[in-house]
Amino acid sequence: METKIGVFLCNCGEAIKNIDFDAAVKEIAKFPGVTCVNLSSDLCLEEGKKKMISCIREENLERVVVAACSPEFHEHAFGEVLEKAGLNGRLLSMANIREQCSWAHDGDVTGKAVELVKMAVNRVRLLQPMEMKELPVNNEVLVVGGGFSAINTALQLSRVGLRTTLLEKEAALGTGTEELESLCGFDTSSMVSAVEADKNIKVLTSARVMEVDGKIGDFSVRIRQEGGEILRKYGAIVLATGHQTELALDCELKLGLSIVSQEEFCRMLGNPSLETEPKTIGFIFDFCDENSRFPTLATLNNALAAKRRWGSEVYVFYKSVKVDSEGAEILYQEARDCGVVFLKSEVPPRIDVDNGQVKIKAKDVFLGEDIILVCDVLVAEELHLPTEETANLSSLLNIRRDSRGFCQEENVHLYPVASEKKGIFFVGGCRGDLDLGRVLTDISSVVMNVYELLSSGKILVEAEKVEADPQKCVACLTCIRVCPHGAIQLVRINGGKEVAGISDLACYACGICAAICPAKAINFQSYRDEEILAQIEAI
């Protein structure tokens, strides 16, 4: 028996004037399967919805087409109407006869409107009902890293009740945070003791991730420690592997007492028994890498500190100061008010080492003249780079990196902390150069995102929305290779043949796999080939 389809037309309070609805109703009633055609003027209002429900019940409709405004607005609401009338909410197709028909064209568009309805009727006939189901997820989180971001992410996750494992490659947490400590004024040791006191946090030091398998809610991670290897299960993974710096120097210039990095300079500042206090100090930044904020902040802080502690003469050579972070402009002004000399230059200064003294030669843009500065200490320009661990982990997890090698691709939809795979997040320096304010924001964002996914121990999803037919799948692995969200894996059905298995949890329902499958084995409910081709045939 033919499926009973009901078509509900709405003339939008008689505002759709260039469609002859009476003629349209007559035409639509002729389509096969259409058992009732209703015209109303207020379908999206409560009155209209009520009429719709009673009509669906009275006529025993099995599928519904709504021809009205754009589905962008009310598709969801009409789906609910179907549910109320006892039909599965997915058995609905909308024809956009307002925004994409009546309003987009001059003159009579009855013909087009009828055709749009025909497309929807053809599609709705093939639609399948879909149910929601709850899937369990493991709610323990793996945080990789042992720096500021990692420790604070773990602490905050614990405070919202999620168990966390902190995995650090070094022998102890909080190594290598000296520079940040002096920059931002926090105390690592108290954070580390807070972690140790927290029973929700397990710490694995001298540990490395060897292999990651699975998907959101069920990652299995093989971890190598000194004592051997362990296999643990996690619901989500947060990368907090930080960044590293590298001096941008000509190779013949030997790094020594007179040319130092920002980090070493911090150590000099913190050293109470320094033999000789430097009298003249030069800083250089923003020539080799014009796209980082961190060098600006480090320079401003260190220059101010040097001025205050030693009263040294401080000269800063730079191209543009990066003040687009909170408080940076104030800091810049403070440094100038303190007597730090800022020298803007368009080209990188020349550096020579002569008898233990560093000579900096630069062309100042304001004076338009060459300046030669002889200084005791030069804090050289640093490049801001991703760590090796970041590179290793992202290839282990098979996630994309940006053009500079940091985690997270440059896609606006992934910002701030998401990866293209559900359940894998980035926080802090591993995803780019961030100032303290942004790192703090990142940490809280990641905690929120993880909490949302894992806190209840289960996730509600549409069951088998995208599914590979095991009978047709030839296990060519194409879908596994193309899935941008890593949602497909080979699975063994009943211990036998291996086929593509699409995880309902990890799938974003984009349909890339369905389009590319050479065996046409992948069914994407609501957007199956039949459903798309049926619309084409109606034209």
Binding site: C12, G13, E14, A15, I16, S41, D42, L45, C69, F73, Q156, R159, V160, G161, C184, G185, F186, E290, N291, S292, S320, V321, K322, V323, D324, S325, G327, A328, E329, I330, Q333, K344, E346, V365, F366, G368, D402, S403, F406, Q408, E410, N411, V412, H413, Y415, P416, R431, G432, D433, L436, R438, L440, T441, D442, S444, V447, M448, Y451, E452, S455
Partner: protein
């Protein structure tokens, strides 16, 4: 987190980000906005893509707005302002005043019949911008004859769904909420304050925001005076940022100026574009390649002009000191765009008084201490987005999510404490 309620003040992108996260975690959210449409300022920004996405994030806002509006756990309170606050974390009582919209957004089906019959020019009842949500019509009390004492009734009687009602009083209601997120956003710096730049006097001097709206509305750029395609365009950076009244960088202007300049160059490769700047802020994810691409084709001049004059022929003469050349120069342009910065919202002070939260020296809401990002001096009140300081769209979203995170934490902690007692 069922049976918890949170009020989010301001439905801009950070407010929406907060509301969505909380709602997805099971919290019921009231999303309050003084305007008639949801989405705040960034919802009306234009797409700045050329052949590739320029990562301005304007489209992200639209997606989030749509999500928020249809979310079952988010209740929208548009046209509403906060009048009074009492109570504390876990038990705030908030008095809300909702101005009548006159057009019922539940009933308005955006058919446009009212605009057709409205006798006033410009029309007193009109649709919001194309991407607005809810897409229901707006009645402008200032233009409407009815509110000038006349008996015009045309729109009301023409409305097929009886969505228009005139005799409405502001509605007052009291909400009980566990926590509050303040996301009231920013105001654009009023370029008229810098009189010498001629904004408001010369038609061809626009602000960056104006330019956004031009692209949103028309999709291309034409000179406001004669409708021709501009060939010689200048962007002036740091208008209302990094000066003695604004001791901060607005963080968005260099990016939007360069992206808009890129869009202009893309649409008209022959156009000459100059950007006058103090320091270029080229940091941030994905911006490096963009800067590299336009480094050559856009002229960057170090030095910000102080004066713009209109010549007899209608061109704009810009006087500036080219620091790299070390001389004072003049140059003429068809169009000058002032890259206006982010200023604290005008109602920030009032709201701070109502909520009892502190303001920072720069006029934005102050956070508790340097190691917090959303907390205020009042427990249970959190900050999200540009009301706390300048931020671009991605940073605002992140800050909004972070505020939701902090809120979630206090709600979770107070729940477990109660269980403990």
């Amino acid at each position: 987190m069922e049976n918890k309620n949170v009020l989010v003040v301001g439905s801009g992108i950070s407010g929406i980000a907060s509301a969505l996260e909380l709602a997805n975690a099971g919290v019921s959210v009231y999303l309050l906005d003084k305007e008639a449409v949801v989405g705040g300022r960034s919802a009306s920004f234009c797409c700045k893509a050329t052949d590739i996405c320029s990562r301005c994030s304007a489209c992200v806002v639209l997606g989030k707005v749509k999500e928020a509006v249809t979310h079952p756990r988010i209740k929208l309170l548009t046209n509403s302002t906060m009048k009074k606050l009492s109570g504390e974390l876990g038990n705030f009582r908030v008095e809300i005043e909702q101005q009548p919209r006159y057009v019922d957004e539940e009933r308005c089906i955006a058919c446009g019949l009212c605009t057709e019959v409205c006798p006033v020019d410009p029309k007193a009842i009109y649709p919001p911008f194309a991407e607005a949500t809810p897409f229901s019509y707006i009645l402008d009390k200032g233009r409407c004859l009815r509110f000038k004492g006349e008996r015009c009734d045309l729109c009301r009687t023409s409305c097929p769904t009886k969505a228009i009602e005139f005799d409405l009083k502001p509605k007052e209601q009291e909400l009980r909420v566990d926590a509050i997120i303040v996301a009231t956003g920013f105001d654009v710096f009023d370029a008229r304050e810098k009189g010498s730049l001629g904004y408001g006097r010369y038609t061809n001097v626009l602000t960056g925001l104006d330019l956004e709206h031009v692209f949103t509305r028309d999709g291309y750029l034409r000179l406001p005076t004669n409708g021709r395609e501009p060939q010689n365009i200048a962007f002036i950076q740091c208008v209302g940022s990094r000066d003695k009244d604004h001791e901060y960088c607005s963080q968005v202007c260099c990016k939007y100026a360069m992206k808009l300049a890129g869009l202009i160059k893309y649409q008209n490769p022959d156009a000459r574009v100059t950007i006058f700047y103090i320091d270029l802020q080229t940091a941030g994810k994905g911006f490096a390649q963009f800067y590299e691409e336009y480094k050559e084709s856009i002229r960057f001049v170090r030095g910000v002009p102080v004066e713009i004059l209109q010549t007899v022929s209608g061109e704009l003469e810009v006087r500036f000191e080219d620091i790299s050349q070390g001389k004072v120069c003049r140059d003429t342009f068809d169009l000058v765009v002032l890259s206006v910065g982010i200023s604290p919202g005008k109602n920030t002070w009032d709201l701070a008084r109502i909520l009892g939260i502190n303001l920072a020296d720069n006029g934005f809401f102050d956070k508790k201490d340097s190691l917090s990002c959303n907390e205020t001096n009042v427990d249970g009140i959190f900050l999200a987005g540009t009301c706390q300081g300048p931020k671009d769209i991605p940073d605002s979203i992140a800050h909004g999510i972070a505020a939701a995170s902090k809120t979630m934490r206090v709600l979770a902690e107070s729940a477990s404490q109660r269980r403990g007692h």
